[in-house]
Symmetry: C2
Subunit: 365 residues, 2 copies
């Protein structure tokens, strides 16, 4: 296995103590021992979501969680409004269309975020009642962070359910599901939680659960009513991803030892340092409203973002991410969500400076 | 973590060399390195499925794979025939109903299997064209093994697609998907493959793919056309369960080092030894047509199956499984699929004998 340092916005590095507990002999999932662990992690996730509601754990990657939220909150023919500010906002659109909802997509340019005013106008312009809005907290493809509290207020004022993709914000930014009035919050394991991919999490509000009782889209593996029913007994409807849940317990222990406020503060500090470093190298930041989980650099043509990414890998063993979708070849992204330290950010910036110098590239500023 | 010896029909013990590779630092999934691994395991699964078709790997547990097969092979309103010989046969029924198919269920008593003649009569009695039949190779809840080759022949002769749950038979019994004319074969990671749960596998025949092109049930995370398209590029539509796929490579290496024929022969030998041992203790076997993956013992009331299971755990640190569904408290099950040796079977039988003697229980024969 190549010993590469990951600076990708997921998967993120997995601390050794998490890898160690996951490598212990597996336990059976229909046991008192597993039930205790499953109850502990389910409760342990609540402060990260900012909720007193159940956090349901599915054996799936993040998109499975998004699909579960949508399929359990909507009915055939209803209108779904999505905010597309990048590849993952677009995923709500794709999901809604796959389930044949009437999808209205508010598109903002990559790197930007939708403002509450934009969302309000867009919602007010819809000819039909809008059942739900699909939002993205931290848009991984652009490094932009939506103001979910304000967007949710706008949607709630209009009687619309609010579904939030918090896949790359959970454990990075505070999320206050209950306070902000979010109806479905979705996340995954391989980001701020420092685990391998394979777990999706979904929490539903009371309004979300009420919608679920009337939802008619077909679902079985992603039936959240059944997941909630089984969670009440400390178990899952289908075989859970046991080893990842064992790892999750360790991940939550680490986050709690550090303290959630300190975890958020560390991410804010590292992200600010990363942005400062990028700017001091003469490179532009892509997202005016940046996420603390990933810093997107660009748009640039010189230096060629893909060449930088390639050189950092070849010369420094550091893996960064290029652009996705229409941003391919125009930006690159530095992930710093999860188990990162100040030293990691210093190292990646130093390596970036060295590569730029070796390539005789000067900043574009 | 309790050091318990698992004799459960999934999860099964994970060999140390698999746990070791899964505990190495994680790699990114959009890389040449991962693509090579993903191609290798996808090809490596084919001999186990007995197919030259693509084997698609999903981040989900087995039921997710069953749902994917069904949602990609069927259209709204079509008739699905299911064979319910236990809890997992019933799952096809539940899935079909969740997707609002017209489900006709052929029920046979727990422990029994459906014969080709029964299936033929049942199919011939259907008032509408039957789109697909949902079968279970090894019925985990009863330890019974269906003759899939013969059942598939009956279905194929009637122009019906054949979907097979091979979750607890893959890597235990030979499966000849292409030769038997199976249209969808589904399996999971935590059984014969000796991995943690979290991966589902689905292979589709040409007929299955043709049905998929016309299928209209909503699906996104489980869209197998997209999975096949991405597999052709060596990747996945959504973030794969990287650590489990790394483990899968090691699992396949182990199976190939032993040789698939030897793996099947070992399972046959261990299962026969287990059945002989059970009988020699005066206990009845539950399934006249037994699976080599799990041996079900019962129905019995004296000794109380749950008391036996409890005592084996308390006194010998061995975890067996009780009955499921209507067989709760009436049977117990000894799993021997995956990384088991002759010694393991000897040990569990010796422990069973000891517990029966301590409890002053004599066999029911």
């Amino acid at each position: 296995m190549a010993l590469e340092r990951l600076f990708t916005p997921g998967p993120t590095p997995i601390p050794e103590r998490i890898r160690r507990v996951m490598s212990e002999p597996i336990i059976h999932h229909r046991t008192a021992e597993f039930t205790e662990i499953f109850r502990e992690v389910s409760l342990g996730l609540q402060p990260l979501f900012g909720t007193k509601e159940d956090v349901l754990t599915l054996a799936a990657s993040g998109t499975g969680g998004l699909e579960a939220a949508l399929a359990n909150c909507c009915r055939t023919g209803q209108t779904l409004v999505t905010v597309n500010a990048g590849k993952f906002g677009e995923r709500w659109t794709d999901l809604g269309r796959a389930y044949r909802l009437d999808v209205a997509e508010l598109t903002v340019p990559y790197g930007q975020v939708a403002t509450p005013e934009q969302l309000a106008s867009f919602l007010d312009a819809q000819p039909h009642t809008v059942q739900a809005v699909g939002l993205t907290h931290s848009e991984t493809s652009t490094g932009a962070l939506h103001d979910i509290a304000e967007l949710a207020r706008v949607a709630r004022d209009r009687g619309t359910l609010v579904m939030v993709d918090a896949i790359t914000s959970l454990g990075v930014h505070p999320i206050r599901m209950d306070e902000w009035g979010l109806d479905a919050v979705v996340s995954g394991s391989q980001k701020g939680l420092m685990l391998p991919p394979g777990l999706a999490f979904v929490a539903l509000s009371e309004m979300g659960r009420r919608a679920m009782a009337h939802a008619d889209l077909p679902r079985f593996y992603f039936d959240l009513a059944e997941a909630a029913k089984q969670l009440a007994k400390g178990t899952t409807p289908f075989t859970p991803a046991i080893s990842l849940i064992i790892g999750l317990r360790e991940s939550l222990a680490m986050l709690n030892e550090e303290g959630l406020e300190q975890v958020f503060a560390r991410h804010a500090r590292l992200a600010a340092a990363c942005r400062d470093g990028v700017r001091s190298l003469g490179l532009p930041l892509f997202a005016p409203s940046p996420s603390n989980g990933v810093t997107a650099v660009g748009e640039i043509t010189t230096p060629d973002p893909d060449l930088l990414v390639k050189s950092l890998r070849a010369k420094h063993g550091m893996r960064l991410a290029g652009g996705q979708g229409s941003m391919k070849g125009k930006i690159f992204r530095i992930g710093h969500m999860g188990a990162y330290t100040d030293q990691d950010v210093t190292d990646v910036l130093a390596a970036l400076a060295e590569v730029m110098s070796e390539l005789k590239i000067e900043g574009v500023r």
